[in-house]
Symmetry: C3
Subunit: 269 residues, 3 copies
């Protein structure tokens, strides 16, 4: 019996999350389900994939049930993938790919087609989270089925990838983008401290952050406490990436940023 | 030991939901509580009743704890009802009635009056979710009490009903109403596919959806994938009812709909 | 094995709450975690402390994990405190103090400094909820460590207090303030019914509620049902304190109140 970690864009207004918990409990009442988050923006596959990627190393090995699925009712495949961490269950639209890759790749991928492990439809559209993904996750977590029982095996390398941008040199700086704006307005980029250090920038230096046509000079500091309340800083965040933050404030508002925004960092001239 | 499924209009901003979980855990630490949803609009008994009705068949048999209770502090009775599914605990204001009826009706109904199974008041108004309903649900789920221990038995047929509209013929069409707008703006009606088929309408046909003085022509399709992103469709939803949706969009916004809105469907002339 | 009750200002949009659950489950999969609320206003230590104070007597004895921490990254200490109720884990910024005091004070307080009970950093800022507080709560709840294993013992009286206002006589009335506005707009004050009774005011009387330069006359009633829908009442709320409410409405909107607002109550002349 292994735990299920459940991440979706279902929100908490309707009963979708609760019904998925119910389907799991009807299959095996002793299963634990951790709600990673259900606050992913509706249908935002990249945001879901990045949240899973940030979380996965902190989640107990078992089953990841991931439903961010703008293509429900189209031909994208519902799948399960087996990795060293455990099983990933969700749509094959890229949402699983980065976390599966971080866990060393999939040793088996199946399409969730076996009707024995689906909740029978009420005669209309499928609610795949409830009818396909939840029962697959539950039987895998409970050890009631092997992954190969759930449907035909696909080629190991066939997981649909998610294209994630790489950082690139730009003049005397490095160009990346905003990966993630958290609800507090902290802006995580895809730039690592090593990227900056390769440019001769060190903690304590002033850094020019260029966003569109605007430039901001912010200090690279270790902790929020190193600047005054209301001031901006560049720091290595708790995931090891360069992030722009405002102490007791919102960097997203201050710098007018959105996720996916290009950003260039260079040492203040 | 059976699980509790908990549905309310408490929201998640305050600690109301957590305190109910705490009361349950103090009575029996091993009890499982599934949060069905706490996002029901405040005091909207009909919305709570319909969410419970949609969810109940997916929830594990046990105890349903349902607190949508605009009449707290008035004379409405707190009750528990025994059914083939398990026990329903909540106010007798109609919120329980449709789900109890779907489960074949109640074999016993009691008023929750026995002080032994209430959390002692702090001297003011009762927070019935915490002080009356949660302990009743917990002792029933844990098997610490029989339903008849909780208070006087009421007549079996005495559950306050919830009046739900029926569909009616209107000209060459059928008149129903919007049951439910989910958070994505999908509009579930109370019209079944059989109702439409009785009018000679079939999947693939164009259907005229009349709302107030406005008419929309939308295709009856099986899946979102059958229309382009941004286009509307009529389909049988995952609960087996006719629903208007917009692929990757909001039908509620597009058609300017609210829950309870009358809607007439007929074959496009 | 004791349950953890988890209260924070993390919100539910990002995966912060889920990651904390994951860290706990990786340490001991059988631990139960009750989410008290994660809806505390960001960094509002007083709101977090009052929510914990209201909830604590309803939570099962065990470990309270409390993360409202505007000073993360500054010199405030991460601590654990041992009380008759169990352990409190969080920042030493006042958020724990009122609940610890209600439970009779701390018999031991330690600074969470032992690296064995921290999640190793990814090389940047600490996410203390995930890396420091969650593992400390988990090992205490699981009985894997004694509180004195977690770091150096501090003086028993060294918990940073939270200054909470007292009520004061003002003319023929009593001056207090708004403790808490719940999400429905109910306004709990720090005035007790005994305070009012000492002024000769009794249930059933009309009371003048003075807020800034404005006065409202509202009846002291026992229950919402004693006034008509839309009418205001003063009542002893379910925590035993005087509160202003509007039946099926929002007293916060009606009286234009915010948390911390001074309010004077006196018998209607």
């Amino acid at each position: 019996m292994r735990p299920i970690s459940f991440l979706s864009d279902f929100g908490l207004t309707d009963e979708f999350v609760g019904v998925v918990h119910g389907v799991v409990a009807r299959i095996e009442p002793e299963l634990r389900v951790i709600d990673v988050t259900h606050g992913i923006e509706r249908g935002n596959v990249r945001a879901g994939a990045l949240a899973l990627l940030r979380a996965i190393q902190y989640l107990p090995e078992g089953v990841a049930l991931v439903v961010v699925d703008p293509g429900v009712g189209t031909s994208r495949r519902p799948i399960a993938a087996e990795t060293a961490w455990g099983h990933f269950v969700g749509p094959d639209n890229g949402v699983l790919a980065p976390a599966v890759a971080m866990m060393g790749g999939a040793s088996a991928i199946v399409a969730l087609e076996d009707e024995r492990f689906r909740v029978p439809s009420l005669g209309g559209a499928t609610f795949d989270g409830r009818d396909v993904f939840a029962p697959a996750a539950a039987v895998l977590a409970a050890g009631q089925a092997a992954i190969t029982d759930l449907g035909p095996v696909l080629e190991d390398d066939s997981l649909t990838p998610l294209l994630l941008p790489l950082v690139e040199p730009e003049g005397e700086g490095i160009r990346g983008e905003v990966w993630w704006l958290d609800q507090y307005g902290n802006c995580q980029t895809n730039v690592s401290p090593e990227d900056l250090e390769a440019l001769g920038v060190s903690p304590g230096d002033q850094v020019t952050v260029q966003i569109g046509g605007t430039e901001y000079d912010v200090p690279w500091q270790v902790a929020y406490g190193d600047v005054e309340p209301g001031e901006a800083l560049l720091h290595v965040d708790s995931y090891g990436l360069m992030a722009v933050a405002v102490r007791e404030g919102s960097a997203a508002e201050r710098l007018n940023l959105t996720a996916g925004h290009p950003v260039t960092l260079r040492k203040l001239a």
